[in-house]
Assembly symmetry: C2
Homo-oligomer: 100 residues x 2
DNA sequence: GTTATACGCAAGCTGTCACTTGCCTGTCAA
DNA sequence: TTGACAGGCAAGTGACAGCTTGCGTATAAC
């Protein structure tokens, strides 16, 4: 009886706002919560509240996709793309597919 | 104003049962609906109904992760891992990470 | 000390999603 | 043709997830 692996990872990637946050951290790594909020509103036009983004970041952190670093009253968020590799490793390329 | 890419792909991967179906198709590709139902019950112990699995397969097909082939009254399901690569390509490896 | 800033916690609301239920269509065998 | 088998469609239900709201805490500026 096998079990499902990394449910939190896929749950984290399941939300569009969280994926946009990862896009934003890819563009500029190490942002604070307010910085992310501002850029999401400006560049992506989604008016999410601070608490909403904070909860999203918590989910991303629990999935291992985001690591945080405290510095005084600031909390910087860094992307970690490592867990993403477990996805392609779980379902290997289909035989017959091109493998560039 | 950028938009989110491949929402259906991530939505499809967001459910544990659908991921188990992909595991099952990885183990044995080209199964029918009833075959998948049986194996999910036997090997994974989840008692999902036929309609539930059918709906899951529809979601997986819409995400491009499963391709179907009709043959008489049978419908065979084949996994397609191609879309998975867009995930790792979207968020490239963080500089400083080991790249085996 | 006072105020502002950056963030955390927890309860409540709402919409979405997975699942069920019931019935229908198409295919093959007897 | 009749029955069994493989699958499809659609409405209804319940639970979870995302979001809001309100208050609380810690750090830094004045």
């Amino acid at each position: 009886m096998l079990v499902d692996a990394d449910p939190e990872l896929f749950k984290a990637l399941g939300d569009a706002t969280r994926r946009t946050i990862l896009d934003e951290l890819t563009d500029k790594d190490g942002q604070t919560l307010f910085e992310i909020c501002g850029r999401l509103t400006m560049k992506h036009g989604l008016g999410s509240s601070r608490q909403a983004i904070s909860q999203h970041l918590a989910v991303l952190e629990q999935a291992g996709l985001v690591r945080t670093r405290r510095e005084g009253r600031y909390k910087f968020h860094h992307i970690d793309t490592g867990p993403l590799r477990s996805i392609v490793e779980r379902w290997p390329p289909t035989p017959g597919e091109p493998n560039p």
